[in-house]
């Protein structure tokens, strides 16, 4: 009798796990609606625009995100129109100027600190993610070529 009760509890627990797992799996397998995709795209493009503004030295956006990317008047786009010559698809790599194996975020911070004489930003900050979004979006279609000098 005792064993039967334990068996029932175990069976119930197993069923509960199965039900939960199945329902979660079903959520993942649900087809994406056009509305969902539009929202995903909008969220991404909003960050691209914020990154575009930062990249072009927009004061209001820097203030809003509490960053100071330059003290020389220079903006990233002045050396990198259309985010050219940034080569996000070549990172990570040994970066000559830093003399270290570096990520794109490392290099963005180097540019902020050295040529632009600005203040380094938190690599996980909203500003960094937005800059990264703009740079990648601008170079969309470029083939991955990590490590290329």
């Amino acid at each position: 009798m005792k064993l039967t009760r334990i068996g029932l509890v175990a069976l119930g627990a197993t069923l509960a796990v199965l039900v939960l797992t199945t329902s979660r799996a079903a959520a993942h397998k649900a087809k994406h609606t056009p509305e969902q995709l539009k929202v995903f795209e909008e969220i991404f493009m909003e960050q691209v625009k914020v990154g575009d503004l930062l990249f072009h030295g927009d004061e209001a956006t820097q203030k809003k995100l509490d960053v100071r990317l330059s003290r020389t008047g220079m903006a990233c786009a002045m050396c990198h129109p259309f985010a050219s010559d940034v080569h996000p698809h070549e990172f990570p790599k040994f970066q000559e100027q830093i003399a270290e194996f570096a990520t794109l975020r490392d290099m963005i911070n180097w540019c902020i600190e050295k040529p632009n004489e600005g203040e380094r930003i938190d690599p996980d900050s909203k500003a960094m993610k937005a800059l990264e979004a703009y740079v990648y979006w601008s170079n969309k279609g470029s083939s991955l070529d990590p490590g290329r000098h």
Binding site: K49, D52, L53, D58, T72, C79, H80, Q97, K114
Partner: protein, 382 residues
């Protein structure tokens, strides 16, 4: 020895300093590299390895004596307390021009003296230019113009287009910046907003602003119409007089009309700024040579680099004196003009693929920016 000569000698001694000396076998130095880019088409390509170095132009000067002139442009000065590096580089260029031996007959300043057209910036530039005691002529850049539509610039430097004859050569200065379509009135932009959009090379708001304009084309036509067809013309412009990359206004929109006017002449050389990079092109009998900036180098555009261009070296962003400089241009008594890029710190040309500013970018695909496509425009330098 007069005072000027003594000053030149002292400056030259100081500026040349120690370090590497000319390699006699090549006749070039690493610090001051001659860009003999092409003798003529395929012949130039054949000599690519060892004779790459000068834009050698066959000009018919007859018995006229040779002479030199200097080009400086694109200093993009901010007020002195905002950016000292650009000031340092402009000063260096002016001192080196003044120290040329034999001296240049004149200096052409090719536009973009200021960054945002601020009278403080233009006054600063005007002060720095006083270092050069030679004859000076000026053409405007878009950064000089669009805060007050040229009021301060013309007050300091006069008419933006002009012509003069010198030792058998007709020199023409063109204004390629002031005739931009009005993108500001309907949007009720402030002068600073107007200037901000103009100052954004990869922005779309200012549109195809680079142009010569119908009235100036007529003036150009009148200016050259009486000139003998076999005599040289050198035409200075801020923008290149051909189509390189319109999205960054690396062109003038009416370049075909300019070419048409100059077509009958046997020897036309266009010397231009704006692009901040080594460029060389030929269309018909017109040759175009792109000048370095003193401020910073632009990357080569994703398309449209002329096939005759030998690309400059990849600049080191950690060295503010790399990838920038000015030019000595010499017109010899033998009838040739040579352009000598004076780039600081490094060789001018990227001889190997890994060092070339063009080859470095072959693996990138780019698209134009997005934030300035919407109204009200973002990022308008409020």
């Amino acid at each position: 020895m007069d005072e000027n000569q003594r000053e030149r000698d002292e400056l030259r001694k100081e500026l040349e300093g120690g370090g590497e000396r000319p390699d006699r076998s090549l006749g070039v130095t690493r610090r001051v590299f001659l860009h003999r880019s092409l003798l003529a088409g395929a012949a130039g390509a054949a000599t690519y390895g060892w004779f790459p170095l000068v834009n050698t132009l066959d000009l018919t000067l007859g018995a006229q004596a040779g002479f030199k002139f200097a080009w400086v442009s694109d200093t993009h000065l901010y007020p002195r307390d905002v950016n000292t590096r650009f000031v340092e580089k402009a000063v260096r260029a002016m001192k080196e021009v003044q120290a040329m031996g034999p001296p240049a007959d004149f200096l052409i300043f090719g536009g973009d003296l200021a960054q945002l057209g601020d009278p403080v910036e233009l006054d600063l530039g005007n002060d720095l230019l006083k270092e050069v005691k030679l004859k000076k002529v000026f053409i405007p850049g878009e950064h000089d113009w669009y805060l007050d539509l040229g009021a301060k610039w013309t007050k300091l430097f006069g008419q933006p287009n002009w012509t003069f004859d010198h030792k058998g050569v007709r020199f023409v200065g063109l204004d390629t910046v002031s005739r931009g379509p009005d993108y500001w009135t309907a949007k009720k932009m402030t002068p600073k907003e107007r200037m901000g959009h103009m100052a954004t090379l990869d922005g779309s708001v200012a549109g195809a602003w680079a142009g010569v304009g119908r009235d100036q084309l007529e003036w150009l036509n009148r200016t050259v119409s009486g000139w003998p067809k076999d005599r040289p013309i050198v035409i200075f412009s801020h923008n290149p007089l051909y189509e390189y990359y319109p999205p960054w206004n690396f062109w003038v929109r009416d370049w075909r009309e300019v070419q048409e006017i100059l077509k009958p002449f046997g020897s036309v050389t266009n010397v231009h700024g704006h692009t901040h990079q080594v460029l060389y092109n030929e269309i018909g009998k017109m040759r175009s040579i792109g000048m370095l900036a003193t401020s910073w180098p632009w990357p080569y555009a994703p398309t449209g680099v002329p096939a005759l261009t030998r690309c400059m070296t990849r600049a080191d962003p950690g060295d503010p004196f790399d990838g920038v400089g000015w030019s000595r241009l010499a017109m010899s008594s033998a009838g040739k003009v040579e352009n000598e890029y004076v780039m600081w710190r490094k060789d001018v040309l990227g001889e190997r693929e890994v060092d070339s500013g063009c080859a470095d970018n072959v693996n990138q695909i780019l698209q134009s920016r997005v934030a300035d496509r919407e109204w009200p425009y973002y990022g308008a330098y409020k």
